[in-house]
C-alpha cells in the first residue's frame, strides 16, 4: 500500500516536474508545478510530516503559485519567447545538470543502503513536540523569519509600485 502510494506520487512528481521545465507556456509550467508540490506534500505525509504537508499545500500552492499566476496574467507574457534559441546554452544546461546528477547519485546512493523505515506511530506525527521545539529552541530564527517576511513585503511593495510619471507640460 505504502509502496503503491509512493510510486504513484513519485511518478506524478517526476512527470509534472518535466512539464514545468519543458512546456513552452509559463502558465502550464505553473499549473504543473502545483501538481509536483502536491505530490511532494503526499510524500511528506508518508515520511511522517503531515503538518509540513498541509503547510506546503497552504503556503506554496495556495499562495506562492497563485502569486506567480497573478503576475503571469498581469503581464500576459504568453507562450514562447522571441529570438532564436541558443543551442549552446541548451547543451551546456543538459551537460551541467547531468554532471550534477551523477555527483549526487554517487553521494546519495551509498547512504543508509537497505535501511527500512519503521512504520509511522502517533509519537512521530504528533504536533505538540514540533510546536514546542519551534517555540523554544528555534524561537530566534522564527522571529527572524518574521522580520524577513516583513522586509520582503516592504521591498515588494516598493519595487512593484508604479513610478510617478510626470508628464512634461505641453506648450500652449
Amino acid at each position: 500500500m505504502e509502496v503503491a502510494v509512493f510510486a504513484v506520487f513519485a511518478l506524478l512528481a517526476l512527470g509534472s516536474a518535466l512539464v514545468v521545465v519543458l512546456h513552452r507556456n509559463p502558465i502550464y509550467s505553473t499549473m504543473s508545478l502545483v501538481v509536483t508540490l502536491i505530490s511532494i506534500a503526499v510524500l511528506f505525509v508518508l515520511l511522517g510530516a503531515p503538518f509540513l504537508a498541509a503547510l506546503q499545500v497552504l503556503v506554496y500552492t495556495g499562495a506562492i503559485l497563485v502569486l506567480f499566476l497573478f503576475v503571469l496574467m498581469l503581464l500576459n507574457v504568453g507562450a514562447g519567447g522571441r529570438g532564436p534559441d541558443r543551442l549552446g546554452q541548451k547543451i551546456g544546461a543538459v551537460g551541467a545538470s547531468a554532471a550534477f546528477g551523477v555527483v549526487m547519485l554517487t553521494l546519495l546512493w551509498g547512504r543508509f543502503h537497505g535501511f527500512e523505515l519503521s512504520p509511522l506511530t502517533e509519537e512521530i506525527v504528533a504536533l505538540k513536540p514540533l510546536a514546542k521545539q519551534l517555540m523554544t529552541t528555534y524561537l530566534l530564527p522564527f522571529e527572524m523569519v518574521g522580520l524577513l517576511l516583513l522586509a520582503a513585503v516592504i521591498a515588494a511593495t516598493a519595487l512593484a509600485k508604479k513610478p510617478e510619471v510626470r508628464l512634461p507640460r505641453e506648450k500652449t
Partner: protein, 113 residues
C-alpha cells in the same frame, strides 16, 4: 526483485535528486524569467524532500525523535524564505517588465560588459 513492504529510503533520495536535476536543467536552459523562477522553486522543494527524508532516517537510527523534528523545522524555514523570495522576485519581474516589455533573461543585458 520482490516488492518491499515499506518504501526503501533510497527511493526518496533518488526522487529528490532527480527532481533537483530537472529543476537545474530548467533553471539553466530556459529563457523566460518566470519559468526559471519556477525551476528554482522546484529545486528548493526537492531539497525539502531530501531534508525530511534524511532527518527521519537519522532520527530513527539514533533513536532521537527530535532529529526528525529539527529537519521538519528547517523545511518550515525554507518555506517561509521561499515565500519572501517569491514576493520580491515577482515584484522585480513586474518592475523589469514595466521598463523593458520583456522578461526574457537573455535580453536583460544592461549590466553586461
Amino acid at each position: 526483485m520482490s516488492i518491499p513492504v515499506s518504501v526503501p529510503i533510497q527511493w526518496y533520495f533518488l526522487l529528490a535528486g532527480a527532481l533537483f536535476v530537472i529543476g537545474a536543467l530548467g533553471a539553466l536552459s530556459r529563457r523566460n524569467g518566470i519559468t526559471i523562477f519556477l525551476s528554482i522553486e522546484l529545486m528548493l522543494n526537492s531539497v525539502n524532500l531530501l531534508i525530511v527524508a534524511y532527518a527521519r532516517v537519522v532520527g530513527e537510527r539514533t533513536g532521537d525523535l527530535l532529529t526528525a523534528l529539527n529537519g521538519q523545522i528547517l523545511v518550515l524555514f525554507v518555506l517561509a524564505v521561499a515565500a519572501a523570495e517569491a514576493a520580491v522576485g515577482l515584484a522585480l519581474f513586474i518592475a523589469i517588465f514595466r521598463g523593458r516589455r520583456t522578461i526574457d533573461v537573455n535580453r536583460l543585458n544592461l549590466m553586461r560588459w
